[in-house]
Symmetry: C2
Subunit: 260 residues, 2 copies
């Protein structure tokens, strides 16, 4: 289990609430013994004894750890509190909280995607088996036809992001895997909350489909540099089209009687 968030002692006296202290103590305790996911923590009753604190305090501490995804509780006999591996979904949700107030732009997200995705593509070239390649082709096939309305395009857009998520899943680099899936999610959230893709954009569909087909070919043949280049071009193109679309959406909301 990771070290407690901050270990610097407050100057005056314990400024942290007791549940926080208990949560950190439990965290340290788990780390010292090298407990692994699935291992059981002392029961609430035992913790009440050990820390000599009220039940409510102990429970609040456990909630803190649970909110971080580090433990999970089950009721009943054989139940208790168990060390839990933080899930990718929870990690992404917690990190997403941070960016909620940061007002990321399309440019910000694409700057990162443009840097990461090509490296992912290069690293996977020649390393995928037929089943994996077939799965990717299956996703691409889901948007073989251009969307007829805004709703269909929304679905296609999500499928397209799923293609990238699926690709990331195949990497054996957990950090890269997480970051690519996270940035793709952030992008879809931004586009959703900003109601992008409102004006149907056949060009986006066409170019995305084309790039992904060429990318799959490069991945199959093991051409790493080519895969990197294709993905880089794909990112540049998608970024450009997205910005154009954003501009179009913005224009939509301007007063109808002329430009500024």
């Amino acid at each position: 289990m990771p070290p407690a968030t901050t270990r610097s002692e407050p100057r005056t006296g314990s400024r942290r609430s007791r549940p926080q202290q208990v949560a950190e103590a439990i965290k340290d305790w788990v780390m010292e013994r090298g407990l692994q996911p699935g291992d059981r923590l002392p029961s609430e009753a035992e913790l009440i004894d050990r820390f000599a604190m009220a039940k409510g305090t102990i429970r609040e501490a456990l909630r803190i750890l649970e909110a971080q995804g580090l433990v999970k509780s089950r009721t009943g006999p054989g139940g208790g509190v168990f060390v839990h591996q933080v899930s990718e979904d929870r990690a992404a949700a917690l990190l997403g909280n941070y960016f909620y107030f940061q007002r990321l732009s399309i440019d910000d997200i694409y700057a990162v995607r443009a840097a990461l995705e090509p490296e992912l593509a290069a690293s996977l070239a020649g390393k995928l088996n037929e089943g994996q390649l077939a799965a990717l082709e299956g996703v691409v096939a889901r948007y073989a036809e251009p969307a007829r309305d805004a709703e269909e395009e929304r679905v296609q857009h999500m499928d397209s992001l799923r293609f990238h998520a699926l690709l990331a899943e195949l990497s054996d680099n957990a950090l890269l895997r997480f970051l690519i899936r996270f940035t793709a999610n952030m992008l879809s959230e931004v586009t959703v909350t900003r109601q992008l893709y409102t004006p149907p954009n056949p060009e986006l569909w066409e170019s995305g489909r084309d790039y992904q087909a060429r990318l799959l070919a490069a991945l199959r043949s093991g051409a790493g540099d080519e895969a990197r280049a294709i993905m880089a071009a794909h990112m540049r193109s998608a970024h450009r089209l997205m910005r154009a679309q954003e501009a179009a959406v913005t224009r939509r909301f301007l007063p109808e009687d002329g430009m500024i």
Copy 2:
């Protein structure tokens, strides 16, 4: 405030504990009204009334939100629970929890750093004022001399990572800024826990110092492509040296009486 983590309804009946439900309800409530950091939530007493639940339950819910960094409580008159902007440190700590069990390798981290850092360098070229450049030079100056022992080298290593963190701080891309600082931190944690840099490595010092000096020159002159190239080379070099060092450390722990 960001949407509650997962909204899928459990099949049987509410599988989430009441505090979790309350936490999500509060989250939604805050989002609906568009409350901003600093805004006050209803007092515990009011929440007890609204949700018709006991104090303990409400308090556990508030702890969940607090653990995520979304709210903060203050006692006393004028006190209460306040919306709080998730700090970068907390976000990094929460994300770090996820990777604790994922066993990242040096290669994994450098694959990401090698992709992100050059883009950061390129994006900053010509955009920094004299004060910012001077601050960067100040950090570089802290390891102008080669380390004489392992402890000094450890400090220099940390300073070197601080250089990258400082550089990231100057980006106006919050996503890139966070990711670069986070990966640098992860690297220092990995090197610490694995006791890397135990054999002093003057070559690492020399090449790092050289690259950073050339990088600063490129940043000052506004040569974006050059800055990107220098940083890319710096990453490749640091990665290579780090791997060599890891190998050296590993060799150290082999039995002394000969190779395998």
